[in-house]
Symmetry: C2
Subunit: 401 residues, 2 copies
């Protein structure tokens, strides 16, 4: 087992009416003026925003709303939020939404508390000194941003998508009411399940020594997501299935599934190549993150599995329920990859890039690999280190139907 | 899935030399004067205490040591600690040891920050307003107190053992170096493994709705402890085995294994009858907590399993590897109980009270049940509610070899 630190200070309130704890928890923190940050119309139409506003008002808290966060959240909206917080002396940001809204809220929080331009932080040119306190009312189970230290923002100027991880951005609280996800369309529900599985697999497939306990937790988590995603296909308002997936989403990305695994450094265990390959894709083509991940994962997996076939065989047997062909771990491994792709298709998720409606030509492949390698200055991946050529190969394989 | 809150703010630093982070973390909290609280001679003899003192001194922190905490930690030592902290203006307590030392440190922390007598808090007559910050350098994997909100203290006046759970007592940090447990004798190692398993089983066996994810995590945790406890029998200095068990000990009791399970209220999911039956035993006879638990558990399990045989069958199959006799869940259940007892014996742990060297007569049985029922004023257990007569029956069964 490799050394690790584990720090998850986010207070989780899970269950029906969880959102009603917002005002009380903000007051406990001594904050007074809240930015209510949200995405599109659904939070308004469902009455959720009104209920939160009432909840804050009744507790004597002031607030100012800011909606309009889009998937693959954008720097311009972050800048708008920073200005608003400064003008209004906001001292707490309440994110009402999923990963995009929470990530955007964290970025605003960084912008308010740091003197430099916020994008400098995401480029790694400056280190954050802190982040305005953020809390979340979760309405989409997917990104795990409600318990993670990370956020990802897209700069429209060049469509650069960059992540930033810093302890100070962990949500002070996460209010998780599975009922708030009842009305998510099947496609978004499926995208969320893919994202949750990928957060677990990115850590599961690393070259660091494995941990028996962390492996067991990760495998249980993936089995739970797969089982309950199937239930939601026919029963989108099944409370328990929504709850299992919502809680799995948080545990998949709060670092629990990486404890003791080591990895590529930067403080986070895991491979993360699929995420990084996907970031370029969704940065340029604005596809749903989960769909982008499922379109690439199989091509990545077949490109790298020979580095450690027994790891993929373990995944196949313990997660996908593939019978173990002990004498042929490579066959077991490949069966596991195929089983996961079949599951993705069962959910209506793509397993290739053309299924995203994107036809990549040779130039596109060059550009994606160039951007993903940061102009040929970095490798990605830990399970297998991938250079620019490897990235191009994977994009190319994923481009075939 | 039942509603729950989950709050684990303890910063974990896990791995070799983890203890060297003590001074830095205490300074981050702005504290200046540290009570170094420890147990017997082993922390001194191993040089651990010296290293910690040097670590604090070099960081400009003042400290005052207080040793002598015993298993089933006592109120008189807590009172001594409170006086010392007040005289010396201590603002941080560093527990160097296992559950007894950490529990004692929490009790001292309560005593310093609350005006009432500290025992009033443990009797539930007063509610704690807070607790002096506590951090832990863990040297025994067992109690999970390093991430839990609970502590248990024994009042020598009447040999009353009482627990207190309060958020304010959660350790600010837990420094976990598995090497510090290399020299633990086999008996103590085994006692720790029983305690870890029991913290998981107490939550696993409750009547609240189960959670698929929490079940899977709990089952993985128990399998991990059983597997690695066996390794330690022949390889007490196996780093990975020590590490798996140490991390399992924290996760078993930081509430992760209770999420969504509901339970008997009081904010904590689970049954806890075996713990409460054991508390009376170790309160009076001063046995090792883990040994007391293993001496009672089988008798408890056979007394209650008919309330929900399929739950015990799931445990038998998923944790103990018993073949599922689908048509006879009661048989599967009983096989699982027998398999766990066989494992306890394999570790040299007792599965009856006489094996603890204690011969109970009729009066003893009456007294234990009377005390455990708080003079016949409470029931215990959630899987099956147990009154005074039930308690006596279980003590009696456990008294037969």
């Amino acid at each position: 087992m490799m050394d690790f630190t584990y720090y998850t200070p986010t207070k989780v309130v899970f269950g029906r009416q969880a959102e009603e704890h917002a005002a009380g928890l903000i007051r406990e923190l001594g904050c007074k003026k809240v930015l209510i940050h949200y995405g599109g119309q659904s939070a308004k139409a469902s009455g959720l925003l009104d209920r939160i506003c009432t909840n804050l008002s009744q507790a004597g808290l002031e607030y100012v709303p800011l909606g309009g966060v889009v998937p693959n959240p954008r720097l311009s909206k972050v800048r708008e939020g920073i200005r608003l917080c400064q003008e209004e002396n906001v001292d707490f940001i309440l994110a009402v939404g999923g990963g995009s809204v929470i990530d955007s809220s964290k970025a605003i929080g960084y912008g308010v508390l740091n003197d430099c331009d916020v994008w400098e932080l995401y480029l790694g040119k400056q280190k954050p000194k802190g982040c305005l306190p953020v809390g979340a009312v979760l309405t989409i189970a997917a990104a795990g941003s409600e318990m993670s230290e990370s956020s990802v923002i897209t700069n429209e100027d060049g469509w650069l998508k960059r992540g930033l991880s810093h302890e100070s951005s962990r949500c002070r609280f996460a209010l998780m009411n599975p009922e708030l996800t009842f009305t998510l369309p099947p496609y978004q529900t499926a995208c969320g399940c893919v994202d949750i599985l990928m957060h677990t697999m990115e850590r599961y497939f690393s070259q660091g020594s494995s941990s028996e306990l962390t492996d067991g937790i990760s495998e249980a988590l993936m089995r739970t997501v797969i089982h309950n995603a199937r239930i939601l296909k026919s029963e989108p308002q099944n409370y328990n299935a929504r709850a299992e997936i919502m809680w799995a989403g948080s545990l998949a990305h709060n670092d629990l599934t990486g404890c003791g695994r080591g990895g590529q450094g930067k403080g986070r265990a895991g491979d993360w190549a699929t995420h990084q390959l996907e970031h370029e894709l969704s940065g340029i083509f604005d596809v749903a993150h989960g769909a982008g991940l499922s379109a690439i994962w199989g091509s990545w997996a077949r490109y790298v599995y020979r580095e450690n076939p027994s790891r993929f065989a373990q995944f196949a047997v313990n997660v996908m329920g593939v019978p173990n062909r002990f004498e042929m771990p490579e066959c077991t491994a490949l069966e596991g990859i195929a089983a996961m792709e079949a599951f993705y298709r069962e959910l209506g998720m793509p397993t290739s890039i053309p299924e995203l409606g994107i036809q990549l030509n040779e130039k596109d492949l060059d550009l994606l690999a160039y951007k993903c390698s940061f102009q040929n200055t970095r490798t990605i991946g830990d399970f297998k280190k991938l250079g620019r050529e490897d990235m191009r190969n994977i994009y190319e394989t994923a481009s075939r139907v």
